[in-house]
Every structure is written in C-alpha cells, then in structure tokens.
C-alpha cells in the first residue's frame, strides 16, 4: 500500500473518532498532503431557499489575501468553478474548468490563483441530501494532473471532511452548560411535537447529526434513556419549552 493510500485509510478511521473540528482538519491535512496538496478550503456554496453566496466554512494550510478579495468583490458571480459545482457529481480540476471561462475577468481569477504559487486545484462537489451544495477545493503547488484513483480517494475524503466538519463546527458554536441549552430546549420542544431529527434540523437550520447530539446531551442532563421521555422529564424539571428559533 502506498503512503497516500495508507493516509487515506487512516483519515477514514480518524473521522469517526475526531471530537473537534481542529482534530478533523489536522487529520484531513495529513491525508491530502500525502497526495501532493498544500491547502484546502471547505465552502458552503448554496443552501435551498437562500441566495447563492459561497462562504468559506473552514480551511487547512496557508491562506492568501485572495479569499478576502473573493468575498468582498463577490467574484463568485463570475467564477466558472462555482457554476460547475452545481451540476458536477465528480471532482474536476481547474484546468478542466478554466477553458469554460467566458470573460477575461473570469480567466484572470485563475491567473491570480497561480500567482499565489498554486499549480492546479481539484474541486470536489459535495451535494447534501437536503439540496445543500458544498465544495472542498484542494490546492497543489506541485501537481499538474490528478489521476482517477486520486480523484476517487479525494472525492470520498472530501465528502467525509465536509459532512463531519459541518457537524463539528455547529457543535463548537454551542458552549457547554449544566442546564439545558437553548438548542437542547428547542429540540425537546419539537420532539414533543413528534418531529424526527432531520425535521428538527430543517426547522432549526442545523444538520440532523447536530440535532442527534443535542438530543443525546439533553437525555444525559435529564437522566432519561429514551427520546420520548424527554418532554415529560423537562416538564418535571420545570423547563419551559417553546418553539423560539433564536
């Protein structure tokens, strides 16, 4: 087994054990570094029902000032990569998409990227089950081409990175508290209304894995073993349940 293949398998195993976003990012970084990539960015490209405004969620490796300029000048409006992500179901390289640049400004985006030292990039689209679109962009300063086995490994690794990273990022936004947190109360409220995890996730605009984590925490704090016991246990504790989404 090559070092790159071993690094990929290690990442697959590490993902389940990662308890923080930093751990996941470090593990992903080691995996992609073994394949010749020096930087990576995970972006949320689109969420159903909201305007398309790509946003960087988390990244690994040195970042350049191009990211700030990309957001402030809204360069995603002309970036052919963003347009391609919506319809792509497999990773594609900058070389493959650069030829589709319709305007000199769009072509100049790739020149700007190469001016930072990048030689080529691989974009892995991540299409969520609820219609959300994310992408993981892997940047290499050394590799000009990416063979099919590398693309397949990076596709699966990027999907894991984006999916698990999003959940860990949402969890990190919740500070630990001995009493039920606002989110935990909201989850218990919607459980009392008979909603499933993914329905609650849609209502609260968080992933269903994050909902499951809140439900687990609420069960521990209220001392129950089953989800259906949560509303009564919260009521006995004197917790006021309401549907506020703030």
């Amino acid at each position: 087994m090559s070092p790159a293949e071993a690094a990929t398998l290690r990442f697959f195993q590490d993902t389940a054990k990662a308890s923080s976003l930093e751990q996941l990012i470090d593990s992903f970084g080691a995996c992609i570094a073994a394949h010749g990539f020096q930087r990576a960015v995970c972006m949320r490209v689109a969420t159903p029902g909201q305007p398309v405004q790509p946003k960087v969620l988390f990244d690994w490796g040195a970042t350049t000032g191009l990211g700030e300029r990309y957001a402030s000048e809204r360069l995603y409006r002309i970036d052919p990569t963003v347009q391609a992500i919506f319809s792509a179901i497999e990773p594609f390289s900058w070389d493959e998409i650069e030829v589709k640049a319709k305007t000199p400004e769009a072509a100049a985006l790739f020149d700007d990227l190469r001016a930072t030292g990048a030689r080529n990039g691989l974009v892995a689209p991540v299409h969520g089950p609820l219609g959300e679109v994310l992408a993981v962009v892997l940047v290499s300063d050394t590799e000009a081409e990416f063979p099919s086995d590398v693309r397949q490994r990076m596709h699966v690794a990027a999907s894991l990175f984006a999916t698990r990273g999003l959940t860990l990022m949402e969890r990190a936004a919740e500070p630990p508290a001995p009493d039920l947190t606002r989110r935990e109360i909201q989850c218990v409220y919607w459980i009392a209304e008979g909603k499933s995890d993914w329905e609650i996730g849609q209502i609260l605009q968080i992933s269903d894995e994050t909902v499951a984590w809140h439900v687990q925490n609420a069960k521990k704090k209220l001392g129950v073993s089953r989800r259906a016991q949560l509303p009564n246990a919260a009521w006995r504790r004197g917790v006021l349940l309401d549907e506020s989404r703030d």
Binding site: A16, G128, L130, Q152, V156, W198, D208
Partner: protein, 237 residues
Amino acid sequence: MIHIVTADNRGLYAREFERIAELLGGESPQREGLTAGAGSLHVLSLDGWGAPEFICRLDRTDVACALAERAPQLVAAGAETIRGPAVWERTRVFAAPGLCGPEPESRRRCGELRLAILEEARERGIERIVEAAPCNRIVETLRCGWWVSFLGLPGELDGVPVVAVEIDASAEATADLRERLAAGPSRRLHLKAGETPWSASPKEIETFLEAAQQLDSSKLQPLLVALRAAVADDADS
C-alpha cells in the same frame, strides 16, 4: 408498507418484478439479480399506484458476495472478513426518481425503508450489512442515519467509482435510527403465499391493511362483509 419478499412468497410479486425488469431494461446486472437464489431477500416498496418505487436485494455473504468475488481489493482487511452467516450484502438497489429528493415525504419514506432493512436484519440474526456505495452518492449514505464505516479505499466496480462500506445492524444502531426518525410501529409486511385472499395484488392487500389499521372494529366488520359480497359478485359475473 414495506414488503419483505423471500423465495417463499416471491410468486405473489411476479407482476411487480416484471415491472422492475421493464424499468431496468436490457441486460443490466440489476435485471439479472431479480432471479435471485433461495437465500435472497428483497425489500420492496410500492407507490400509490402499485408500481415499484424502491427495491434492494440482501444476500448472506457466506452464500454469495459480489464484493468479495468481483472486487476484493476494495476491502482493505481482506475479502474474507466480510463473509459470514451474520453478514448481508446489499445489492441491486433501485429507487424511483420521485423517491430521491429532499422533499419531506421522500425523506420520511427513505428513512422508513432503511429502518425496515435494519429491523429485518435484527430478526434474522444479521449483525452487519456491506455494500459497494457509489462515490457520487456517499454523502447520502453518510447522512441517512445508518451507522456507516468504510471498509477500504474507493475503486471501480462495473465501471462505476464505488467505496465499500459497512452498515452497523446492531440493536443499538437500530434503536438509534428508530429514535431519530420518531418512527411508529414497524411498517414491514410479510405476505404468505397461500394465505392471501381472493388473488388480491400486494398493493391491494397493503391498502386494505393500512385502511383497517385506522378503523375501529365496529367499522371493520361491515367493511369486510361488503368486500366479501363484492368479491362474490365478481366471481358470479
């Protein structure tokens, strides 16, 4: 309801399997898989019109295993680690386009199908399920509520990039999915050949059972009497 089709009752589903064969067409591996062996089990869901909207096949891997036989390189620990009487392989998955969207109804039905597969596995002593998941649908597999782990690196199977995954079919995993879906009573249906009334189709039986579940006994009895009379009239005419 979700139909569990085995060698014992497959004759009841002849029309449905023909319809699936027409939908799949040609000599695709899925079509060949419909003529399954005695140990195979299919999980089948029908839409409101009685047309198949989902089917998958489950085989014990000590009997047959496509992953072990045709793509052993996809299992890092060795193909023999996925063979055994307590391991199923899921293959020949077909889902109608209407079932594959983010809409609430699709999502709920897909969740029920996944839960039904785990419940059936528990009843038959199956502890894990393996499959070659397409790489371009891996996010759906990761976010569906199953406890999924990777068995190896991605590769190609029949020209399609796939990665071998293992789905935990333990009691804890099944209970967790049931909780996350806020699921009610099991929606599995095991029809027995020779016990179905008046040559009714599986969809007709399903519809009747679902209606019967919502009726109290005072309304169920007159309904049964009326149905019997209608069937007798049909037989006489």
